[in-house]
């Protein structure tokens, strides 16, 4: 396992002190049928876990959290709590909401520190389930299936489990140890893990279905797509997820220079921005690095969470709105500059489109470019697996079953734009739901 990367600096958000925990846990009203619980996609019984913190039962508290959300440790760090549990807190109107995410982190951190064993595998049922993808959705499904007593094998294309939690979120927001601890909880329940196996390439769906009674597809999405402009093949042009991964694993990303451009305005863009600036400043011995987000729409259209945007501002990131890259200019095979064109929003039937304004081109000297314009869909993979999909979004019914009987899907691979957000907590809930559906399916129930 890669060593943590302390050089990437201070955590995004510090943990609560013991005094803060005591005051906050005792401030909670322990509402009945609490709005915070209902606002959580996994329905963590917040009142119960906070009451247990107040009563000094941290192991019991962690169990309540992880029972509802197998990704409870990651979610305590990356959930947009102000839009979920804390956004629903009854104190929000006249006071500040209870710091639910921070309390959750306190309880789960204690369990991580103490090595508390939270769950046991169920009595063996004789059924076998293959999980394709060891990210949040796959791990959550695997965890619950093991608790139900089904044998589980996780097929993971990468070297480590955890998916984007392990590889795709900067360490100062989500340390790799946290993601791997969650995966370890599942492995300890007896889930078999086969890493470096890509289903669809190394293993066909028919082979899986021949060997397993059911399958969960939880293979997420692909890398960041090309922008589709000249110069993307130059050295110094990065896929944001690959960049974050290299940084998180403590690998050398080479010289970034002092002028970095990140194209895109989502949460991964923010991660790429803050992470690259920290690395660039560190490489130059604390010197200045001009790290800029370029976005073809405006501040209002950004998909990054407000708190992420705030964090990026505090980190000294600059923002340029209403400009789109037209081409990347190179010198000696390396990025030298980007030519941008200004845009304006035009309202059409399909919503608001950013339209280039001709004659407004300008060139910015740039040393490193990071693409953070979303993730591609695994269209070919699903075609090869014989799974029906809509433009790479796997088609599922209410029970999360795909068009192939016995094959279920959860997580980012079923996340369609314009529905719910592709959050870790949502993936965890879908993993749980897939596990429940499979349990019913395997037991021959309705």
């Amino acid at each position: 396992m890669a060593a943590p990367v302390p050089s990437l600096g201070e955590p995004f958000h510090r943990p609560l002190t013991h005094l803060e925990v005591k005051l906050e846990a005792n401030r909670c009203l322990y509402c009945y049928d609490a709005p915070c619980m209902n606002a959580c996609p996994t329905h963590i019984d917040v009142a119960s876990f906070i009451a247990k913190i107040a009563a000094g039962n941290l192991a019991g508290s962690a169990r309540v959290i992880m029972d509802a959300n197998p990704m409870g440790a990651s979610c305590a760090r990356v959930c947009p709590t102000d839009q979920l549990c804390e956004g629903a807190c009854v104190y929000r109107k006249d006071d500040t909401p209870i710091r639910i995410g921070d309390l959750q982190r306190y309880a789960v951190d204690a369990a991580m520190r103490d090595g508390t064993r939270l769950f046991e595998a169920g009595a063996p049922t004789g059924h076998t389930v293959a999980i394709v993808g060891g990210g949040p959705a796959g791990l959550s499904a695997a965890r619950d299936l093991r608790r139900m007593g089904h044998a589980v094998t996780i097929f993971e294309a990468r070297e480590m489990l955890g998916g984007l939690n392990t590889y795709g979120i900067v360490p100062f927001r989500l340390p790799i140890e946290t993601a791997l601890w969650e995966a370890e909880q599942v492995v300890e329940l007896g889930a078999e893990v086969r890493t470096n196996v890509r289903v669809g390439r190394d293993l066909a769906m028919d082979a899986l279905l021949a060997e397993y009674d059911a399958v969960v597809l939880a293979c997420g999405m692909g890398g960041v797509p090309q922008i589709g402009i000249p110069g993307e093949d130059l050295a110094g042009v990065w896929d944001a997820l690959e960049f974050i991964e290299q940084a998180k694993l403590g690998r050398d990303v080479g010289a970034l220079g002092s002028r970095i451009a990140v194209i895109g305005a989502g949460n991964t863009a923010i991660d790429a921005l803050t992470c690259s600036r920290r690395i660039a400043r560190q490489a130059s011995g604390g010197g200045e690095a001009r790290v800029t987000m370029y976005y073809r729409r405006g501040e209002r259209q950004m998909s990054a969470y407000g708190f992420e945007y705030d964090f990026a501002k505090q980190e000294g990131i600059e923002f340029r709105f209403f400009c789109a890259p037209a081409r990347i200019l190179g010198e000696g095979g390396r990025v030298k500059a980007i030519e941008f064109v200004r845009t304006r929003l035009e309202t059409s039937e399909g919503g608001e489109a950013a339209v280039p304004v001709s004659g407004t081109e300008f060139v910015e000297p740039i040393d490193t470019v990071v693409r953070a314009i979303g993730q591609s869909r695994l269209v070919e993979t699903f075609d090869r697996l014989g799974i029906a999909h809509d433009g790479g979004v796997v088609r599922v019914d209410e029970s999360l079953q795909t068009t192939r009987p016995g094959v279920y899907a959860a997580g980012d691979c079923i996340f369609a734009k314009g529905t719910r957000e592709a959050m870790v907590v949502e993936a965890a809930e879908q993993g749980k739901r897939a596990a429940r559906s499979i349990d019913t399916y395997l037991r021959g129930g309705a």
């Binding site: 013991h18 005094l19 005591k22 009945y32 119960s48 009451a51 247990k52 009563a55 019991g60």
Partner: protein, 420 residues
């Protein structure tokens, strides 16, 4: 998972958490919900000749922002017909045969009235009786409840009548509104009771509205004293439970009642001698669901200590309570302040300066800040500074070696007698 099963004088329940006879056990609907939530037993709201209640019945005692650190009530026993209660008891017992259902009873001090009530109630399948000799308001004015509990001879007599007629164990519930709880407890034992439960509520007036001069709560401008309960009464209850647990003339099991809200409260009652606990106010505040916190907390506590069953801790610390004359006069502790944890509120300083022994000094530091430093030579180890400190583990009371062997006042007085 530890074995949480409990047995009070032959009344078995899957855990030691019972609901006390009170508003939460008023109806079959509530008791069903309580059992679904996981309560091991209930003492049904007191049965007897149905009464008429007043409206405006409860009042809460708040301490600053903390709601209901205690409450009081002027509600009486059940206001529903006996038959209705009995048929609901039977239904609950059928639905949850493994749980304990104890019927609380109250009657006028007449042998035939008590015998008749016992006879009728035990026609349904119940696990025990609890005689309500504790209710301090209303019923006591009619010669029942605490009016009986304050007369040991009456307790013994009524208990005898019930035990004679009863086919199930009899618990006597005692009022704390007495000088020494051991006397009524001994009387219950003399009368043949199989267990005692304590404490019922304490005589109290919750307050007066300073604007209207109405008492709180008031019924059309007037009130009567009510029964006080909740977290604030726990220390009183612990003392009474322990007094009885250590008294050889009581000698029967105890069901502990009074301010139980957390699993730690349960452990304390059990350690000091209770065989199980009964809960009311915490449920009135948070609902039946708190039993899950109690069970989970107690289980983890026992597991962490390798204790296999809850019965093993009953009375575990009962004999740690003794008379003052037996305490070691040569045991010394002093306060030690962790400067790195201190937030400089100076609460410890002013408490010691004005209310204790003037042994915390404010020592100016080179940078201009002030450290709070204990003069250990003069510190008497009273704990006050650590009690007022808002930061956990900032002020620690540490033992210092006096170099002298343990000696109690009793021993010192005896030694002085020998010398003198």
């Amino acid at each position: 998972m530890a074995d949480l099963r409990s047995n009070l004088a032959g009344i078995a329940s899957p855990n030691p958490f019972w609901l006390a006879s009170a508003p939460p056990t008023n109806s079959g609907y509530q008791v069903m919900r309580a059992f679904e939530a996981g309560w091991g037993g209930v003492v049904w709201k007191t049965l007897g000749t149905p009464i008429v209640n007043v409206t405006s019945r409860f009042a809460g005692m708040n301490y600053k922002q903390n709601k209901m650190v205690a409450m009081n009530n002027i509600e009486l026993i059940t206001d529903r017909p006996l038959d209705e209660n009995l048929s609901e008891i039977a239904k609950c017992k059928r639905a949850f045969p493994d749980r304990a259902i104890v019927a609380s009873l109250m009657e006028a001090c007449e042998r035939d009235a008590w015998r008749e009530l016992v006879k009728r109630v035990q026609e349904v399948d119940i696990d025990g009786f609890e005689l309500n000799f504790g209710c301090p308001h209303g019923m006591s004015e009619r010669g029942m409840g605490a009016a009986v509990g304050q007369h040991p001879d009456l307790i013994a007599r009524v208990t005898e009548w019930v035990v004679e007629a009863s086919r199930v164990p009899v618990i006597v519930k005692l009022t704390p509104n007495v000088t020494d709880i051991r006397f009524p407890a001994r009387a219950a034992a003399r009368g043949g009771a199989h267990a005692v439960s304590m404490i019922n509520t304490i005589n109290s007036i919750m307050g007066v509205d300073v604007e209207t001069w109405n008492p709180i709560p008031h019924v059309d401008g007037k009130s009567s004293h009510g029964g006080y309960c909740g977290p604030a009464v726990k220390p009183i209850a612990l003392n009474m439970v322990n007094d009885c647990a250590r008294d050889p003339e009581v000698g029967i099991p105890i069901s502990g009642i009074g301010g139980v809200e957390t699993w730690q409260d349960v452990v304390e009652f059990l350690l000091l001698g209770a065989s199980n606990v009964q809960v009311c106010t915490a449920v009135m505040h948070h609902g039946f669901r708190i039993v899950e916190e109690l069970a989970d907390g107690l289980n983890r506590y026992l597991d962490a200590r390798g204790i296999r069953s809850v019965a093993e801790i009953v009375g575990g610390a009962a004999n740690r309570i003794t008379s003052w004359n037996n305490l070691n006069l040569n045991y010394k502790i002093v306060a030690r302040i962790d400067q790195s944890a201190c937030i400089h509120c100076n609460k410890c300083y002013i408490a010691c300066e004005d209310a204790a022994h003037q042994c915390i000094d404010r020592v100016r530091q080179p940078g201009g800040s002030t450290n709070l430093v204990v003069d250990e030579g003069h510190c008497v180890g009273c704990n006050l500074c650590s009690m007022v400190c808002p930061v956990d583990e900032c002020i620690e009371m540490v033992r210092v070696d006096t170099g002298r062997p343990a000696q109690s006042w009793k021993e010192r007085a005896a030694a002085m007698g020998e010398v003198g």
